[in-house]
């Protein structure tokens, strides 16, 4: 029973990191400024490193990444959202890295199976959050155009943020407490960025916020098709 619960949790956290890393990797060669080529790849690499440790806890990392179908992935719908413009990428990053920092800080303080990973990852995640916050401020409090784009991105992704605080079996954390802290943090950062905290629902109709159950949004299947194509074309090969 314990192993199963641990596996479920490892897949949830590992899939989050894997899928967001993939999305950030799509920026390579397309970033608005060279420093962001470096920064986005850096964050993608940190997340991929976390994903590899977590998926290896649950089984074989490549089998899990390349041979599961869409309905078996346990990542949040938030992280699979397409990159959109730079503001969407930053909003997704702000929402997720703040959540990840809260969760990993709690997990690092437990004596559970994820404590060692969380202790190491929390340092990376603090950097990711810092990066996202700084860009939220620059875009929110930059030009009229950038403020509009950042506001729109925050609104568009808001409905995927409730899912982050649905308890995951095997993760020992104060979910309600984290959610309250996350909301305070968003109110603070968005306020400083001269942005309005979105008012819409944070989970929606049946499909919004069900990634943990294997229900995903439409773009996710296409993302997996691209990611898995080569590996699946050569069954049993090693690379």
């Amino acid at each position: 029973m314990t192993a199963t619960v641990t596996t479920t949790a490892a897949l949830a956290l590992g899939d989050d990191a894997l899928v967001l890393s993939h999305r950030l990797g799509e920026w390579a060669g397309h970033a608005p400024v060279l420093e962001e080529e470096v920064a986005l790849a850096n964050i993608a690499l940190d997340l991929l490193g976390q994903a590899r440790v977590l998926l290896s806890t649950a089984g074989d990392e490549d089998e899990l990444a390349y041979l599961r179908e869409e309905r078996s992935f346990r990542n949040l719908q938030l992280v699979e959202q397409p990159n959109g413009d730079f503001a969407h990428t930053i909003a997704r990053q702000l929402y997720f890295s703040t959540y990840q920092q809260l969760l990993y800080t709690e997990l690092a303080a437990t004596d559970g199976p994820f404590a060692p990973l969380a202790a190491k990852a929390v340092k990376e995640v603090a950097y990711h959050r810092d990066h996202a916050e700084l860009w939220t401020l620059r875009l929110g409090d930059g030009t009229e155009t950038s403020r509009e784009r950042m506001q729109r991105a925050c609104e568009a992704l808001w409905r995927f943020t409730g899912e982050m605080f649905q308890p995951v079996d095997g993760l020992d954390a104060d979910w309600a407490g984290m959610e309250a802290q996350w909301l305070r943090s968003m109110t603070d950062v968005l306020g400083r960025a001269t942005l309005t905290v979105p008012e819409g629902p944070r989970t929606g109709a049946w499909a919004a916020g069900a990634g943990r159950q294997g229900l995903h949004t439409e773009s996710f299947g296409r993302m997996l098709a691209e990611m898995q194509h080569l590996h699946r074309s050569h069954p049993g090969a090693s690379w």
Partner: protein
């Protein structure tokens, strides 16, 4: 450097007389002859400065455009380990571009100006990046052959007469050697893998071999900048010399990879102590250089688009910085 004072530009006196210039020139020539480093504030001939700006900028642009053919496979890398290696490599390339633009800026230009010249086609990048990456094995062939050729070209630049460029090259060459080994190892895994994987590796080497040899530039008798660059010790070896060195290095490596090189005329020449190799298709080389290669249009369009689509982000950062100048320190204090 030891004799820096002798040829440092006199910023107060602005000694622009013919005698003064001649004096600086003698000191410059003596420093180059003595294998000393020229530094940003030292006097240098305008043509030396212009040659370096052209070469360093082209080198920086190559790192940036060179991200594209490899980034093309990040989303499809067949294992998580390979994906991590590839992402790290593409990230390193962006970093190399940044070092090199900084080195060029010490010569009195700016990154924005250089990027503008890249986007408008007034400055070039290495023609190798105008070839497409059609299979996963191309990622390995680029690491082994393209990075291998780059290293052969660039290691002598670590002793180049211009200090900032030489120092950038020391850092870059270390990372490039690492990438090259990873590319070799990727190809080896394919070559020793399934039949399909082996065929994929061979096909990639067949397509990348000749373009890699072209990376050393035109033959010595057609290379317009070579003589002057060698005199200034920007360049240390001729194009053909480096190309020969590269071929000699690759032949035994191909053998241990279990792959063949696509050249029927390739054979050891006992007398010369080198490998003879077949004729390069210089028509193709000049064609690609003129913009008619398979991916010229695609590469530059993607670069221009990334820059244009990022304009609002850069404007936002500038506007934010202007609003908050001086504030950060006060807030944090």
């Amino acid at each position: 450097m030891a004799t820096a004072a002798a040829h440092r530009t006199d910023t107060d006196g602005a000694r622009t007389t013919a005698d003064g210039t001649a004096e600086f020139e003698r000191a410059f020539d003596a420093a180059v002859a003595a294998d000393e480093r020229i530094e940003p504030r030292d006097w240098m001939p305008e043509a030396y400065r212009a040659t370096l700006v052209r070469q360093i900028a082209q080198h920086a642009h190559s790192e940036i455009i060179g991200m594209q053919p490899e980034a093309n496979w990040i989303s499809r890398a067949p294992s998580l380990r390979r994906k991590a290696i590839l992402m790290a490599k593409v990230q390193d390339e962006a970093g190399h571009g940044l070092y090199l633009y900084s080195a060029a800026e010490t010569l009195g230009t700016s990154r924005d100006e250089l990027l503008d010249k890249l986007h408008s086609g007034r400055q070039k990048y290495s023609s190798i990046f105008n070839y497409p990456t059609l299979t996963w094995a191309d990622v390995g062939a680029i690491g082994w052959l393209v990075d291998g050729a780059a290293i052969t070209n660039q290691v002598p630049l670590c002793r180049c007469s211009y200090g900032p460029y030489a120092r950038a090259m020391v850092r870059i060459c270390k990372e490039e050697s690492f990438h090259q080994r990873q590319g070799y190892e990727l190809l080896l895994a394919l070559s020793k893998g399934t039949e399909e994987q082996h065929a994929m590796a061979q096909d990639a080497v067949d397509r990348w071999w000749w373009p890699s040899l072209m990376m050393f530039g035109p033959p010595d008798d057609e290379s317009q900048h070579s003589a002057q660059s060698m005199e200034w010790k920007i360049k240390r070896h001729s194009n053909d010399e480096l190309r020969q060195r590269f071929v000699d290095i690759c032949v035994p490596q191909a053998e241990s990879l279990g792959l063949t090189l696509p050249d029927p005329d390739l054979r050891w020449n006992e007398e010369r102590g080198h490998h003879d190799f077949g004729a390069i298709d210089w028509t193709e080389f000049w064609d690609v250089l003129k913009g008619n290669g398979p991916c010229n249009e695609q590469r530059i369009t993607q670069r221009r688009n990334a820059h244009a689509e990022g304009a609002w982000v850069r404007e936002a950062a500038a506007a934010y910085a202007a609003k908050h100048t001086g504030e950060t320190g006060a807030k944090q204090a």
